[in-house]
């Protein structure tokens, strides 16, 4: 299958995306956030919580004086290490009495501080590399089935039920398991700690929970002879921290969108831009595939109208991702099958949109989301809509395929629902495995014309954003009809300008060039 899309227009869209991102990137380079700094501590080996259940990284960063914070937590922490000779975790624990205040370690010269930090920085980076290599080794030994990679969610709220569900799903054919986050976790300015058994619409993303499911899936992978991937959500107020935890626990994918938090969770845009960059540098380095959230445009507004916005967002997400050093095959750009199923020729429109993304982003790990908004309590009809979604995915060669649930409109998936959903995907994709190689859309036909219209409207949308500037464009509600102001939204107080002498050893190590050389 091959559409004839206007290559010049595609080039133009990429140029526009670059122009749109450049100024934001400049802003990012001059700023940091509390969550970035907490991530530095986590990578240095700081973990655990205070008696008041405050995560230690939060405790330390919150205790920093504005001046210290402006230079990043690293210098101050380095001095403390140098003066105490303790290792990071021990050091932080020893500070409990003083409220985790690092200010009294003021003497050690910068060189000593850097020197004291160095081994732990290397340890942090090495453990990420170790997990990346572990993944590569397992994938080589336990190859996955060909894409579309079948992806299902577990969301019981209890990590142990999730573990059961995850293993069962893997045995039923799932190749990627997502543990859906307890709702609104994206709004918490800290990452909960330890295994959790109470969640709402999902299960908390904690490092312990990551480890529990990872271990169960590694075990299942061995039995199945194919590597089963694990994924979770980064987007939110703790993007970089979750990226770090995911790297350490060998998650394979992360929901990580450069604008989702802004538009759909009213998180401050500056906070989000700075956080997404550092989190994506970590994703890049740890070999984690990011998944972007364009599907959210389609669930909240008409899917036919929103197609150009989805494409525009994909171009912007791609540009931000490249700036963070992510190679194309780690960029899972999002899209979804959300056109009203009762619209005549809806299948043609869906194929046009999916194929357009495939051709514009040939190397990307496209993430294709299932029909949700138009699903109803009629599970029989819903199963059919999912079938045409599965067909579209295999015909257009999508990479990551979120399996739709017949019970989408009713409840978070039952164990049996996932089995039916996977049966659906396996049957349809096998029966139509090579249909995509077999058929060519008629030149000038409905499919081709639709693809051309979407691309053209996307280009003018990007023109508009470029002329307004991204931050202002968001304020003008260019995306998802939502308006967010640069100074509004959650987490702004956690954003700060980098003072002279600001130092983030991991950011330095992971700047695309650097990271490349370390690979």
């Amino acid at each position: 299958m091959r559409l004839n899309v206007d290559a010049a227009s595609v080039v133009r869209c990429r140029e526009l995306a670059a122009a749109i991102v450049a100024p934001v990137q400049a802003f990012i380079a001059q700023h940091s956030t509390v969550s970035v700094e907490r991530t530095v501590l986590r990578l240095l080996g700081v973990d655990g919580i205070t008696p008041q259940e405050i995560p230690l990284p939060n405790a330390v960063v919150d205790a920093l004086s504005p001046q210290d914070r402006a230079r990043g937590v690293a210098p101050a922490f380095g001095r403390a290490l140098a003066e105490t000779g303790l290792e990071p975790q021990a050091l932080v624990e020893s500070l409990a009495a003083e409220g985790y205040d690092l200010s009294r370690f003021a003497n050690a010269p910068e060189a000593a501080a850097r020197g004291a930090l160095e081994p732990y920085v290397r340890r942090g980076l090495d453990s990420i590399v170790a997990q990346r290599e572990e993944r590569d080794a397992r994938l080589a030994r336990l190859p996955q089935l060909p894409p579309p990679l079948l992806y299902v969610i577990v969301a019981s709220g209890n990590i142990y039920e999730d573990r059961t569900a995850a293993v069962a799903a893997a045995q039923a054919g799932a190749q990627v398991i997502a543990v859906i986050r307890s709702t609104g976790q994206s709004l918490l300015d800290f990452v909960p700690y330890g295994p959790t058994t109470e969640g709402f619409g999902g299960t908390y993303a904690t490092q312990a929970n990551f480890a529990i499911v990872r271990a169960a899936l590694d075990d299942a992978s061995e039995r199945l002879g194919r590597y089963v991937m694990l994924t979770n959500y980064a987007s939110g107020l703790c993007m970089p921290e979750i990226a770090a935890m995911a790297a350490l626990e060998r998650l394979d994918m992360l929901l990580n969108d450069s604008m989702y938090g802004i538009l759909f969770r009213d998180i401050n845009m500056k906070r989000t831009f700075v956080d997404q960059h550092f989190s994506r540098m970590l994703n890049a380095y740890s070999g984690i595939i990011i998944n972007t959230g364009e599907d959210n445009y389609l669930t909240t507004a008409d899917a036919v109208d929103q197609a150009p916005a989805v494409l525009a967002s994909q171009f912007i997400n791609e540009e931000f991702a490249h700036r963070a050093g992510l190679p194309d095959d780690q960029i899972g750009l999002g899209d979804a099958y959300e056109i009203d199923p009762d619209q005549q020729d809806s299948l043609l429109f869906q194929i046009a949109q999916a194929q357009l993304a495939r051709e514009i982003f040939p190397q990307a790990a496209l993430k294709y989301m299932p029909p949700t908004k138009h699903m109803t309590g009629d599970i029989f009809k819903g199963h059919l809509v999912d079938a045409l979604f599965n067909l579209t995915s295999v015909v257009t060669g999508q990479t990551i395929h979120l399996c739709g649930m017949p019970t989408e409109a009713i409840h978070t998936p039952f164990l049996g629902d996932r089995a039916l959903s996977l049966e659906n995907a396996r049957y349809v994709m096998n029966a139509a495995r090579h249909l995509g190689d077999e058929i060519a859309p008629r030149p000038g036909g409905t499919i081709e014309r639709r693809a051309q219209t979407v691309l053209a409207s996307c280009e003018s949308l990007l023109e508009r954003v470029a002329s307004l500037g991204l931050m202002h464009a968001i304020e003008e509600a260019v995306f998802a009809d939502v308006s967010r102001a640069p100074e509004s939204g959650r987490g702004l107080d956690g954003v700060f300008a980098r003072a002279p002498g600001y130092w983030n050893p991991f950011a330095d190590a992971l700047t695309p060039a650097q990271a490349e050389s370390r690979r």
Binding site: A169, T183, T299, K373, L415
Partner: protein
């Protein structure tokens, strides 16, 4: 007069029902038999395990057909719909203008921690739903859309202070009965504030029925596929009758 009805397979009163479920058992012929016995225990006759198969280690899935001896008296069922009186936008505006003589103040929100605004927006926003315009489009309605994750306290206070005529609460998330809890809390707060009677209190959401609404002490409830005009008509007519009968209102 009573009219007993039973499920209909291909013959009156054959009582045929389809079931499916997962059992935490490794599949085997014995698992099929377990499924058969389970459905028999539920009180079904003529149990046929049409399909039983393993879906994972220790889990099997079953499709069963069976006949139920149960029946319900269709004539004894009380479930008045709130969407009965169909009127067009123009008719409703005219009706309000004539019978109420002032704009109706409507406020709506998706309450609790629920962030599903698409439903309430479909009722309130200009754009409306399935080609049926939302309340904002009506000349005689003044609408306030408070958006999502609105605490019930906030909404109750707002209603009292703005002297809202019709209050619309939405819930899409029903896990662990969170919808019932939130709806109930809102009703009680309005009672406590002593403004309940002045307000046409309406709830809605995919799982809401008018019957559930009345059980919750609401004036009406609207579920799947509701059209804005149905809600507008209900509000207009209910409020008009309160005005006429001298019932409580602002």
């Amino acid at each position: 007069m009573t009219r007993l009805v039973r499920p209909y397979g291909d013959t009156q009163n054959d009582g045929k029902v389809q079931l499916s479920f997962t059992l935490p058992l490794q599949w085997s012929e014995a698992a099929d038999e377990a499924a058969r016995q389970l459905v028999a225990k539920m009180g079904f006759a003529d149990v046929q395990v049409a399909d039983g198969r393993p879906i994972a280690d220790g889990f099997s899935f079953f499709v069963v057909y069976a006949a139920t001896p149960q029946s319900v008296d269709a004539d004894a069922i009380e479930a008045p719909s709130a969407s009965s009186h169909a009127m067009s936008l123009e008719e409703i505006d005219a009706f309000v203008h004539e019978r109420i003589g002032r704009k109706i103040r409507v406020a709506g929100a998706c309450i609790g921690t629920d962030a599903h605004t698409v439903g309430i927006d479909a009722i309130l926003n200009m754009k409306g739903y399935k080609g049926d315009y939302g309340l904002e489009r009506y000349r005689e309605f003044e609408t306030f859309n408070l958006g999502s994750q609105v605490a019930v306290e906030e909404l109750a206070a707002y209603a009292k202070e703005r002297r809202i005529d019709a209050l619309l609460a939405s819930q899409a998330v029903t896990q662990k009965g969170s919808d019932i809890k939130n709806f109930t809390a809102l009703g009680e707060l309005l009672e406590a504030e002593g403004v309940r009677d002045n307000i046409v209190l309406i709830c809605g959401g995919p799982r809401v029925t008018n019957l559930l609404a009345s059980e919750l002490g609401y004036d009406a409830g609207f579920g799947r596929g509701t059209l804005p005009s149905q809600v507008a008509a209900y509000i207009a007519i209910t409020l008009a009758s309160r005005f006429r009968s001298g019932g409580a209102h602002w």
